[in-house]
């Protein structure tokens, strides 16, 4: 379980990046954090594995705190993190060697590393690429290798810090599918940071960050229902949710909570 209590954080130049955030993420949840650039969402994420430490307040993952030196490395093993730029986070030249990097740092026995590497690569659908050079992979494949590299450390929480921002639509789908699978099948808690609404709509819960504060937290159907509030925060809304809202405003009797085009099409059918 992740517990964030009254978190404040200031950059070195004195600007306050996070101005008091409270959030609890239960085990096994898929949480999306939405917000535009500079809203503080990545800063918040980096507190989850102790890369950043709070100015005040507390961040605990299963009771571990990055503040306590004896917890720091256990925390990093428990909370795996994948970053935005696919080219800047793979360390070794081949897929397999890169995936082994984390378990090697944990000092595991070679046979155990081998098993974990194979499982982690299979888990993101990259097993057949294990001997490939990483610079020859596509962006989506690189990000999946980065996820495997983290999963090989057997974390309980996967923090994805805008992993799809630099990818093409195909790469985005690949990465989202891998993250959803790890969440549904292996019970990994996922914190997915993004500004893409369609990705957030797939989460169990959405937290919206604006100007260093958590402006809204709730299931996607509730969040994307608040079209006006999202507009005020200068965020997009998934097209189907927006369309349903527009049509309702014009007197079409549609139910609330429509998120996808498929749902909207089904709801419109009986009206024709």
């Amino acid at each position: 379980m992740i517990e964030i209590r009254d978190l404040h954080y200031c950059y070195e130049n004195g600007t306050e990046a996070i101005k008091g955030a409270d959030l609890t993420v239960p085990d096994g949840e898929f949480l999306a954090i939405l917000g535009h650039n500079g809203s503080g969402k990545s800063t918040l994420a980096r507190h989850l594995n102790g890369l950043l430490l709070p100015a005040s307040g507390e961040v605990l993952v299963d009771g571990l705190s990055g503040r306590r030196p004896e917890d720091a490395w256990r925390l990093r093993q428990r909370v795996g993190m994948v970053f935005q730029n696919p080219d800047n986070q793979l360390i070794a030249a081949s897929v397999e060697e890169d995936t082994a990097f984390g378990p090697e740092n944990l000092g595991l026995a070679p046979e155990l590393i081998r098993r974990r590497v194979d499982e982690a690569l299979a888990g993101v659908g990259m097993a057949e690429f294990k001997d490939k050079a990483v610079h020859l992979l596509s962006g989506g494949q690189k990000q999946r290798v980065a996820i495997a590299g983290v999963m090989a450390m057997r974390p309980k929480v996967l923090v994805l810090d805008e992993p799809t921002a630099m990818l093409d639509p195909r790469g985005r789908r690949e990465v989202m599918a891998a993250a959803l699978r790890l969440n549904r099948d292996e019970g990994i808690t996922v914190v997915h940071i993004t500004h893409i609404m369609e990705e957030a709509a797939l989460a169990d819960r959405v937290a919206v960050m604006a100007a260093g504060r958590l402006a809204m937290v709730g299931p996607p159907r509730e969040i994307f229902h608040q079209i006006k509030a999202l507009r005020d925060l200068r965020l997009d809304v998934p097209l189907a949710a927006e369309m349903a809202w527009r049509l309702r405003e014009r007197g079409v009797p549609l139910p609330e909570g429509i998120l996808t085009s498929a749902e909207l099409a089904v709801a419109l059918c009986p009206l024709y």
């Binding site: 890369l51 990093r76 800047n88 793979l90 990097f101 944990l106 070679p110 610079h135 980065a146």
Partner: protein
């Protein structure tokens, strides 16, 4: 041009050389290099050359690939040859022009030095062609550690990262050259100074990008529990086999032969 560099490239295979422990190969190369610099007559180069040819033949690496590494450094070879021709004072003067003179000793020395460089380069290229980067750096780390070289792990990690990022940086250089050419940069016109200046729009973004990458990479490594070589294990630990001993004996044999040739054997004269 950037694509001609073979040192650091791996040519997949299953030959004897491929399967050798990287430590055996590194120590073997050191013995080979010592032998090469002890040679002082043409016949001695004969042994080393035959040994090198046999190595290339047994490696399964096509000779064309194995020898490609010489291409980018031929100006250096030509320079070595000419410099030795003119700057060796000893020996019988064969040709003179003002202060410049060429002696028979100079010609021999020039040819010897060039041969040494060519053979050295081939053997080194063969090491990288038959060893995956990760095994090579593992081997170096262990050999350096045994020799009590300080920061052995850090140096090996730097090499691992360099090998990983060389292709990325080459791609980035090509992309930047195109982008700046599109803005009117010209990398081929003008004299030496103009050309050097024209590199600024290339080097500055490359440098800034590399710093950003380094920063990102350090964060990613920290997030993956990296804290130096202490307590680190390996996916594929290195283990000596019988064939490694055999290989070292062979390399030792070559060294012994050149030593003997230099000091005692005269049968080929």
């Amino acid at each position: 041009m950037l694509k001609d560099i073979t040192v650091g490239q791996y040519y997949p295979g299953q030959s004897f050389l491929h399967r050798l422990d990287p430590r055996a190969k590194i120590i073997g190369l050191a013995l080979y290099m010592t032998a090469l610099f002890l040679v002082r007559r043409l016949a001695g180069f004969g042994y080393v050359a035959v040994f090198t040819v046999l190595l290339i033949a047994s490696s399964g690496v096509p000779p064309k690939v194995a020898l490609k590494g010489i291409k980018p450094i031929w100006p250096l070879l030509a320079f070595t040859l000419v410099l030795n021709f003119f700057l060796t004072p000893a020996g019988e003067v064969l040709w003179r022009w003002g202060a410049l003179k060429v002696t028979d000793a100079g010609i021999t020395r020039g040819i010897f030095m060039t041969l040494r460089l060519v053979l050295l380069l081939n053997a080194t290229a063969l090491l990288t062609l038959t060893t995956t980067p990760i095994r090579l750096t593992d081997g170096l780390e262990r050999v350096m550690g045994r020799l009590r070289v300080p920061m052995a792990h850090e140096l090996a990690m730097m090499m691992t990262i360099a090998l990983r990022f060389i292709p990325t940086l080459i791609e980035e250089t090509e992309r930047l050259m195109k982008a700046q050419t599109a803005r009117g940069a010209d990398f081929e016109r003008g004299g030496l100074i103009a050309r050097a200046k024209s590199l600024i729009p290339l080097l500055v973004p490359l440098f800034v990008g590399a710093l950003r990458r380094a920063d990102d990479l350090a964060t990613a490594m920290e997030a993956r529990c990296y804290r130096g070589g202490e307590g680190r294990t390996r996916l594929r630990p290195l283990r000596y086999q019988a064939r490694d001993g055999a290989a070292l004996l062979l390399a030792g044999g070559l060294l012994a032969l050149t030593v003997a040739d230099r000091y005692w054997l005269r049968w080929l004269n």
